[in-house]
């Protein structure tokens, strides 16, 4: 390798590092939140009675984006009482969904949101899923619920297919 080639490679590396540093400096909170958004055992059970909950102890500043959650985290969060939300259409929900999932199809969110907000506390931990990685509805619904004031919104990107394929319990029936 010639000295010139080495210098070009070194400078390419410096440009890369400069971009990374710039990106991290503009998105520090986002990255920190993403990496610290993993499950903590102090997660409080959510409740569906809006006026009887205390703020979750782990909640610092409300996130401005949904936190991704993996299958193990979802299972643990559900065990401690997180609210699980199915963002798929009603008829798909009826064919099979996560146990106790609330149906809130993205396409009907405007109609259903009022009742949802009445029943689910803003401080609740929400886990939203749809049809897996290629499905953007859970993320979009998460953004919408954050706009509505929900503070702890997680997106289970593996969605129903991953849950079902892991052999975990599935419920059937219309919302």
């Amino acid at each position: 390798m010639t000295a010139s080639t080495r210098r070009i490679l070194l400078e390419a590396g410096i440009i890369f590092c400069l971009g990374v540093v710039l990106g991290l400096s503009f998105n520090t909170q986002l990255v920190l939140d993403a990496f610290s958004g993993r499950l903590t055992t102090t997660s409080r059970p959510a409740t569906v009675v809006a006026d009887s909950v205390e703020p979750a102890p782990q909640a610092a500043a409300p996130a401005s984006f949904p936190i991704p959650a993996i299958l193990d985290e979802v299972r643990e969060l559900l065990r401690v009482g997180a609210v699980v939300i199915d963002a798929r259409a009603d008829e798909i929900y009826a064919e099979g969904h996560l146990p106790k999932a609330i149906s809130l199809p993205l396409g009907e969110v405007d109609d259903l949101l009022k009742a949802f907000k009445r029943n689910v506390a803003r401080e609740a931990t929400l886990i939203i899923y749809c049809s897996g990685f290629g499905c953007p509805d859970s993320f979009d619904l998460g953004m919408r619920l954050i706009e509505e004031g929900y503070e702890d919104v997680r997106v289970y990107e593996g969605g129903f297919p991953e849950w079902r394929d892991a052999g975990l319990p599935v419920e059937k029936g219309a919302p």
Partner: protein, 141 residues
Amino acid sequence: MSRSGFYLYHICRLALGGMFLYAGGVKADNVVVFARDVANYQLLPYAWNYLVAATLPYVEAVAGLLLVFNRKVRPAALLLAILTFVFMLALASVVARGMEIDCGCFNPGQGHTSAVMALLRDVGILLLALLTLRLRSRMLS
């Protein structure tokens, strides 16, 4: 270098630089949605999708900016060629796994470019980056 080679170099540099400056800019403006596009590839642990989404657009934009301003052209073009090659590997894995996702190459969350189309486009971008690198080297020799 001939006059045509001189013009070709500047056209390649501006096209490559402008393209990545635009791609980086729109993604940097919508990092969260871009993170979802990265997650769709199912290649990284979840939180790392955010790390990539937070940094990659700025790498693209910095390299693109250097090319547009005709500074550090060879390192910038080389970096973009390497990045494009990495994107091609990721897209090839998507095709191999039979997944149907948006490539997330430009406007995150808008439109849909299949992995095969994106792969073909990346072949062109890789050639453009290598041509820019070669023309610049010839210019300096």
